[in-house]
Subunit: 700 residues, 2 copies
């Protein structure tokens, strides 16, 4: 069943309707009546004869027809019996406004479970409990206690906080923001944010999907579904609070580098969701996305009647990484010919303090026709001669003439520009109270365009030895061992096509020298113990050993010294390994977020990864383009390309490593976190080596 009965009911019953002023049961009926709901409204209350002039029914059954939607506002202890009544008469959609359920603790949770069980059995879809209700201004449906219906507009809003929704409605009224739908989802016991947003994604009246969320019910589905919605419509979300994943103790670098917010950044990035840090920025973005075309490119021109604000806008364009448009000679010639000689005809175009609307309109027409301009920001200060209203009208005319380029306005001031600002906003040219906000909005639009135009995602699958990995992981889980030791970690990597250095465990100095002789010098030696995670911290790593004597010395020193530093450690021997010469050390890793799954990490290797934190995360499974994109997002990327006479490394080989890692962690949800560190990569055409790895597993 779709959610149509919630958004477009032909009849609504309000159970708990009340005549008493200030009661929510009255507010709901008032909302429906004064909103002009064209369908039937049935107040239900055994103790009232009429509410708001409508005859009151003692119960649902006595209505005589099955209402499409039932709004429940009775006290919490009566909700279950009302739900039973709904089931009995065949209701299919209910909004439970009533609070006092799981948000108040164990007792409430039990009550909520009971109610939802009844609903589920009867196939009743439920919004709430503990919510404000639903508003659909275009259908004159106000099944909420949020006050008057807002203006009709293109924003579909879903909020996990009813109180915030009230503030948003009030702010929207003051800022000419209109809505297609507003839904408060409360405890989202049945209908959740994803279902609502999917419905908004398909709703013709909604051009921007926006919301305020505190939690996400199903991370995996959320990512997949939001990616689809974002492809059609921009999704603007405020997400408060973290996932709590950061609080877990991490045993890998990747785990310790993945902060509380990393998962949200990664999944928003992947799904094309535009994150907003306040309602104000959400409105800033929303009005542009609703009313303006997406910018065809990043080249911005500025038209202003004052130098200072022009420079401020230019500064913001540079700071935000947009391109300051270069006007064509033709544009400059036309501007020069028609503007006063003191005007600046180069971007930012200064039409001067005495400019009337005609000068603005002319400049705007000319600049919008310039093929080198993708977007224009119109800046105005209300000087003595300035005709704010006429200028606003001129901007709207110009915008109509050339509807395929983005136009944003920043009329600066307070009372003097208030009316013009309203005219602009209502006419579809978003108005910002600072040029910085206009530029930030434009940048967000450009990023959305880039995301929408990203190449089609094709995740490459490599031939691997899956069975081998399964066996190792199963063995560990059976024995309750979480950390997979180095030798078996390497077997896992080899099974997924990684090349690892040759090496063997020695249990005596002589054996170590023998292995080294076989491998050839120089060699690396590492203490081998399941209890020692950070080997170098305890002197458990020696590199560049060049002779049997050095190998034997290193063995004996480790075996003698390390137990003193870590008395309890179970030491199995010392790994003697061929030494990787040359190449650059990077780190590949994965940390599994409890909600969203495997977050892949790339960074420069060595001790610096933890200190400089120059790393990039992305959600698995990953495509080749996305893997390469991860690399370019680190500052160290230049080092990979080669700088200052130093040769670059095989970037495609690193990207392949990330893809193989992605395939491994996607296949095995038991892998909780892992590092391949260092992953040593050489010049183009060489095969990188996974020198060391740390993998931890847990039952799923």
């Amino acid at each position: 069943m779709s959610l149509d009965l919630f958004f477009d009911p032909k009849s609504v019953a309000v159970v708990g309707a009340s005549r008493q002023k200030g009661k929510v049961g009255r507010e709901i009926v008032v909302g429906l009546v004064s909103g002009g709901f064209p369908g039937k409204i049935f107040p239900v209350n055994p103790n009232a004869e009429e509410v708001e002039g409508l005859p009151c029914h003692p119960d649902l059954k006595s209505i005589g027809t099955v209402p499409d939607l039932v709004v429940i506002v009775v006290p919490p202890k009566f909700v279950a019996s009302v739900m039973k009544e709904c089931a009995a008469v065949g209701v299919k959609a209910a909004i439970v406004i009533t609070a006092g359920f799981k948000e108040i603790g164990a007792e409430g949770r039990q009550l909520e479970d009971t109610v939802m069980q009844i609903a589920r059995r009867a196939g009743i879809r439920v919004v709430g409990p503990n919510c404000l209700g639903i508003m659909v201004p275009g259908r004159k449906l106000n099944a909420s206690f949020g006050g008057d219906l807002p203006a009709i507009g293109g924003v579909g809003y879903v909020s996990q906080s009813g109180a915030l929704l009230i503030a948003i409605l009030d702010m929207a009224r003051a800022n000419d923001i209109g809505f297609s739908t507003m839904i408060s989802i409360g405890n989202k016991s049945d209908v959740d944010e994803l279902e609502i947003m999917s419905a908004l994604g398909q709703d013709d009246q909604t051009s921007v999907v926006a919301g305020y969320l505190e939690s996400i019910t199903d991370g995996d589905r959320f990512v997949r579904q939001m990616e689809k919605i974002s492809q059609d419509k921009p999704v603007l979300l405020i997400k408060s609070g973290g996932t709590g994943a950061g609080a877990r103790a991490a045993s890998s670098h990747t785990g310790s580098l993945a902060g509380n917010e990393t998962a949200y950044e990664v999944i928003f990035d992947r799904a094309g969701i535009i994150r907003c840090d306040s309602v104000r920025t959400q409105f800033d973005y929303a009005q542009a996305f609703v009313h303006q075309p997406l910018p065809p490119g990043r080249r911005v021109a500025v038209i202003t009647n004052a130098g200072g604000p022009g420079i401020m806008t230019a500064d913001a364009i540079e700071r935000k990484g947009l391109t300051f448009a270069r006007l064509t000679d033709e544009t400059i010639a036309r501007l020069t010919e028609n503007l006063p000689s003191a005007a600046n005809v180069n971007n930012p175009i200064d039409v001067l303090g005495d400019a009337l609307h005609d000068r603005y309109e002319f400049a705007l027409d000319v600049v919008l026709s310039d093929p080198g301009v993708d977007a224009v920001i119109v800046v105005l200060t209300p000087q003595a001669m300035t005709d704010c209203m006429e200028t606003a009208a001129a901007v709207l005319r110009a915008a109509k003439k050339i509807p395929d380029k983005t136009i944003l306005a920043s009329f600066l001031g307070g009372l003097k520009i208030a009316e013009a600002a309203r005219l602009l906003r209502r006419g579809g040219v978003p108005q910002y109270d600072s040029p910085e906000s206009a530029v930030t909005t434009l940048r967000v639009m450009c990023d959305y365009v880039a995301w929408r135009n990203r190449p089609k995602r094709v995740v490459k699958l490599f031939p691997v030895n899956r069975r081998k990995v399964e066996q190792i992981i199963e063995r560990h889980l059976r024995r309750g061992v979480r950390e997979i030791a180095e030798m078996e970690s390497k077997e896992i990597l080899e099974a997924y096509g990684f090349v690892t250095p040759k090496g063997m465990i020695a249990t005596s100095a002589e054996q170590a020298a023998g292995i080294a002789d076989q491998l050839g010098y120089p060699v690396v030696m590492k203490i081998w113990s399941p209890d020692i995670i950070h080997k170098s911290d305890v002197g458990g790593v020696k590199v560049a050993l060049n002779s049997p004597q050095q190998v034997m010395d290193a063995f004996d020193l480790m075996i003698y010294r390390i137990p003193k530093k870590m008395p309890g450690a179970d030491i199995h021997g010392v790994l003697v390994q061929e030494m990787c010469k040359g190449g650059m050390e990077v780190i590949l890793g994965m940390n599994r977020d409890p909600h969203f799954g495997p977050l892949l990490m790339f960074g420069m290797g060595g001790v610096t990864v933890e200190v400089l934190k120059d790393v990039a995360f992305y959600l698995a499974p990953i495509t080749a383009e996305e893997a390469r994109d991860m690399l370019t997002r680190t500052k160290a990327y230049q080092l990979l390309e080669g700088v200052r006479g130093q040769e670059g490394v095989d970037i495609a080989a690193i990207a392949e490593g990330i893809q193989r890692l992605s395939q491994l962690v996607t296949a095995f949800s038991e892998i909780r976190e892992m590092d391949i560190n260092p992953f040593v990569v050489g010049p183009e055409g060489t095969t990188p080596v996974a020198v060391d790895a740390r993998i931890s597993v847990e039952k799923t």
Copy 2:
């Protein structure tokens, strides 16, 4: 002479006064009259009998008394003769409103020079030309064409853009921001931003100095003076455009890393100036600084009537690096006892959606008395029961009771909270339309407190051989050589107490081997040519050479290969140098900004400095604390302290290196840029070695 005649004149003459509507010459007189200026107003115009009911004088002389202040609004070509008249009658202060001077090009510049020459000779101080004028609301002085006087308040504002000032006035009216003074400085031909801001710094009516600047006239004086002002009062500046220094070709790493904005960041940092990126944020900060006490610490409590906005505020507190206050047991007990059981008594304190003003007031009283709370943010959403106005009044009462902690409000909404917001603002509790803005403001206040409490600046002077450096630099300048070659660069460093590696130039392979034998192995070899700046780019650096044979090979290969890569290079030989073993490589550098002087830089050395750009800048001369502070501002700081079993380095020794560098570049303004790279620093107690240096000089 102080600027008193501008801010507190007893009489004002307006030369160019006009009766014609829309003329600036009329606006000025209207401004003075309708503003209620208590002193005498003398319109001057030979062609009018009266203006705005005041008798008009044909010229200044015929007034019969010398006006304290003359406002000049005649066309540009007449300004010089008016200025002569001013000189003749003994006027000492003039505002030239008229535009059409140096801002329009060469012709205007000449006109301006003429006018200013007359003024200078006669000892007349001039504000302008090309400005809006001056407003001092507290004295009912409106000598401007900016419209009505703004409200009286604590903000002293100086703007280099008159048009922006008009917008600011209009925005201020809508946002209840009051001003002590507003000055448009225009072309600032005489009175500049620094003089005005110094005057505002000493003005009792001004508690916040704010401004919009496009250029800074005297960088050096600016820094010193602003540091003094900031010590007393916060300085809030919008600075648009860069210094242009970044555009110069740089020959050092430091030069290429110092961006266009670096100098401003550094000097604002040093002088305690708070940089604002828009008028909106400037207002956000100004209202808090004017009305609220500085926060005694960073521990913030939140009181809210809705969970969602409470979490959003908490998120912002974490993001902005403030501390989420932990309430004492006593506070929690008192809250628990008096608030409803469903209320959240831990920070953020949720007084619930049905809270009236009394619940807010109680919670605010209790939380403000908690010794663990330095500041409180009051968040409100206008729900059904909410009494916005009464709550605003309650907040004001609580703020009065405990006046030593910072209280900011964020009432969320539009029309429903508009009146309450006004009540709050007018009552001295700043109101923000998003919690994020309140938190950002609080962070800025905390940073200002930290800056004010910084230790006293004492620049240490080391005993050095100044004469030696003077000789080297003089010799280079005489010969027109800008780059000081390696050997002499090291002499300079040694003269300032740096230790450099031993080494000599070899001109033959055999000589090279001989030098290496003397120094002891391993050695480093570097091509020695004034034409080769980036030696490693052309294979001109070889390290870890261990035998006479390796040294001879390296010599011959360089001499053979490098001329092929750089055919024109003048090669003097090869430097053979002892090799620095161990230690960490950092870079110390300096880039001289044309306006503000020597910017010192610190960063991690090697090829990574350019790629990761993990560097910190500071203005010389520097103190020991500031030098250490530079180190901590880099991400690599942890590496210096030692991580993962790796020993740390002598941090004080690096700080001393920075101070010595500071002393050198302060003493010699001929040094335009320099790098000490690498500066190799070992464990505590060891002496760092300046392995390589690049110094470029120019005539000053």
